[in-house]
Symmetry: C2
Subunit: 292 residues, 2 copies
C-alpha cells in the first residue's frame, strides 16, 4: 500500500507499477527525473500558484510560431544549457567537437556542387569557406556528405523570412577524392533567439540576453564513420563569450579579408570578400565516445 506523505511520495511515484520491467532504460530515466524534480520542488518549497505558472509556461512553450516552426520546447532546452550538456557528455575529443543541432535544421537541403554559392543575399559580405574532412589519422575521407545551414547576413534563416526562397543558405555537398570541400556563402550575422514567446520572456525576467554568436551549422556523415553535428563560430563576434545557448567552445574560425583589386578579380567579386578554412575530423563508426 502506498502511504502518501512528504517523506514517502517520491518512492511511491517510482514504485507505482511494474518498475520498468519491459522498458528498463525509460524507467532509469524516469526514476532519475522524478527524484530530481521532487528534490527541486522541495528545495524551493514550490507553491501551488508557482506550479500553475510552470504548467502555463510549458503549455505556451509548445505553441509553434513562424520564428520557430518546430516549437519552443527545443529552444528552451538550448537556453537552459541542457542541449549543450548532452553534447559535452557524448563528445569524443579526438574528432571535431560535436555541438547542438538547434531547432532550425531542415532535412533534404538542395544538393550543390563544389564551389557553388549557398544562397541569395545581395547585402552580405561573401565568404569562401573551404577545408577537408579527415579521419583520426589525418587521412582524407572522400565522398563525405556535408549538410550545411546558416542564417543570412541579417541573422535570419530561410524559414523565418518569407522573402527568402526555401533552401536559401542550406546545401548538401560531397567531398572530392582528396576529402576537400569548398563553397561560397555570406558572412552570417549573430542573432537573437526568438523572443516573442515564453522563452524570450523568461530570459528577459532573468536579465539574460538572447544573443547567439554568429555561426554556421554542419552535419557530416560518411560510410563507416560516426555522423557529426557541429557548428563553427566566427572570430570577433561580440557574443562569443556569452552565447545564450552555451555552444561556443573551440570551433572558432578567423576570417581573412580580401579587398585588393587582383584578389577581387581572381574571385570574380565586385567588393571585399572573406575566406577561411576549417577541417572536420570524423571518428570511426565502431568506436563509441567512451572508447576514445
Amino acid at each position: 500500500m502506498q502511504k502518501i506523505a512528504l517523506d514517502t511520495i517520491t518512492e511511491a511515484v517510482i514504485n507505482h507499477g511494474d518498475r520498468g520491467k519491459s522498458h528498463p532504460r525509460l524507467y532509469e530515466i524516469y526514476t532519475s527525473l522524478v527524484r530530481h524534480l521532487h528534490d527541486f520542488v522541495r528545495e524551493v518549497n514550490l507553491t501551488q500558484s508557482e506550479l500553475q505558472q510552470g504548467r502555463n509556461f510549458l503549455n505556451s512553450a509548445s505553441h509553434h510560431t513562424q520564428e520557430i516552426p518546430t516549437g519552443e520546447i527545443h529552444v528552451l532546452t538550448d537556453l537552459l544549457g541542457i542541449s549543450e550538456l548532452v553534447e559535452l557528455l557524448h563528445d569524443a575529443h579526438r574528432s571535431t567537437e560535436s555541438n547542438l543541432e538547434g531547432p532550425l535544421y531542415v532535412p533534404n537541403a538542395p544538393e550543390r556542387q563544389m564551389g557553388d554559392r549557398l544562397g541569395i543575399d545581395t547585402e552580405g559580405d561573401s565568404l569562401f569557406l573551404s577545408g577537408r574532412v579527415l579521419d583520426l589519422n589525418g587521412q582524407p575521407i572522400a565522398n563525405a556528405l556535408i549538410d550545411v545551414w546558416q542564417p543570412n547576413s541579417k541573422g535570419l534563416y530561410d524559414v523565418q523570412e518569407p522573402s527568402q526562397p526555401l533552401g536559401n543558405f542550406r546545401a548538401r555537398f560531397k567531398t572530392n577524392k582528396s576529402g576537400k570541400y569548398m563553397f561560397e556563402t555570406v558572412v552570417p550575422l549573430g542573432y537573437k533567439v526568438p523572443s516573442s514567446g515564453p522563452s524570450g520572456e523568461l530570459l528577459g525576467l532573468l536579465g539574460r540576453h538572447p544573443w547567439r554568436a554568429a555561426h554556421i551549422h554542419f552535419k557530416l556523415s560518411a560510410p563507416e564513420y560516426t555522423p557529426l553535428t557541429t557548428q563553427i563560430f566566427i572570430a570577433g563576434d561580440p557574443h562569443l563569450d556569452s552565447d545564450t545557448t552555451f555552444a561556443v567552445r573551440s570551433a572558432i574560425v578567423e576570417l581573412q579579408k580580401h579587398e585588393a583589386l587582383d584578389e577581387l578579380k581572381a574571385h570574380n567579386q565586385s567588393k571585399l570578400f572573406y575566406t577561411t578554412e576549417f577541417d572536420f575530423v570524423l571518428k570511426p563508426a565502431t568506436l563509441s565516445s567512451r572508447e576514445l
Copy 2:
C-alpha cells in the same frame, strides 16, 4: 568569459545575465531547476536522441484534447506526483488536508440550494452528502462557499461527455448559519486518467496503471479563512492504495447503504441509496502553514 566544458556549463547557465536582480524568487526557482535538470542529465548520461524524444513528448503533451480541455501538462504534473508533493509541502495539519485541484475544475459552477441535486444521471446510485464547515476550534462557519465537482457514475465529467449538460455534477453552495451543507449527488466512479495522449503512453511503457480512486472535488472559501482545495475519497474503491496521482491520504468516507422501504420513502427514493458525512475544517487567513 564563459568557458564551456562539462565541469563549467551548469554555472555558466546560472551566471548568464544579471542573476535575477529584478526577480529574485524566479531566479531562485530557475537556479534550482537548472541544477537539478543538469544533475539528472549527467546521472543518466542522456543521449541526443533521448533528449529529442523528451522534447517531442513535451510538445505532444501540450496538445489539448476533448478529454483534457486544459491540456496534458497539468495531468503530467499530477502523474509524476509533483502536484501532490506541492500540496504536502503547503498543507496545514490542523485543518482539512489540502489536495490537488486536477485539470478539470471549471469556475462559476451553477449556484444551488441546500439539499439540491448536483446533476442528471439516471443510472447511478444516489448519494446524500452532508456535513459542516468548521474553524480550528470546531465552531461553525456560516455562509462558507462550497464549490464541488465530480464525475458521474460512469467516471466521466461534463466536459468529457457531450451528452451531459455543462454544469452537470458541478455546484456552488453556501453553508447555513450552523455551518451546515447538504446535497444529493450520485456515487462517483473511479476512472482512468486520459490515456490517448503521451502521458497515457508513458504510463503504459512504465507498467503503471492509469486509475484514479473514486473521489469528489471541493473548493471551500469564507471571509477571513484560507481557501481550501481538497478531494474526498470513497472507501472500498479498489485503487485507494494506488491512485495514479498519489492523492489519497486521510480524507476517505464510508458510505452507508439504505434500502429499507421506510428509508426509501423518507428520502423519496425508488431504489437503494447511500449517505455519508464529512466536516471540513478551515484555518484563519492570517496563519500561514508554517505557523501552524
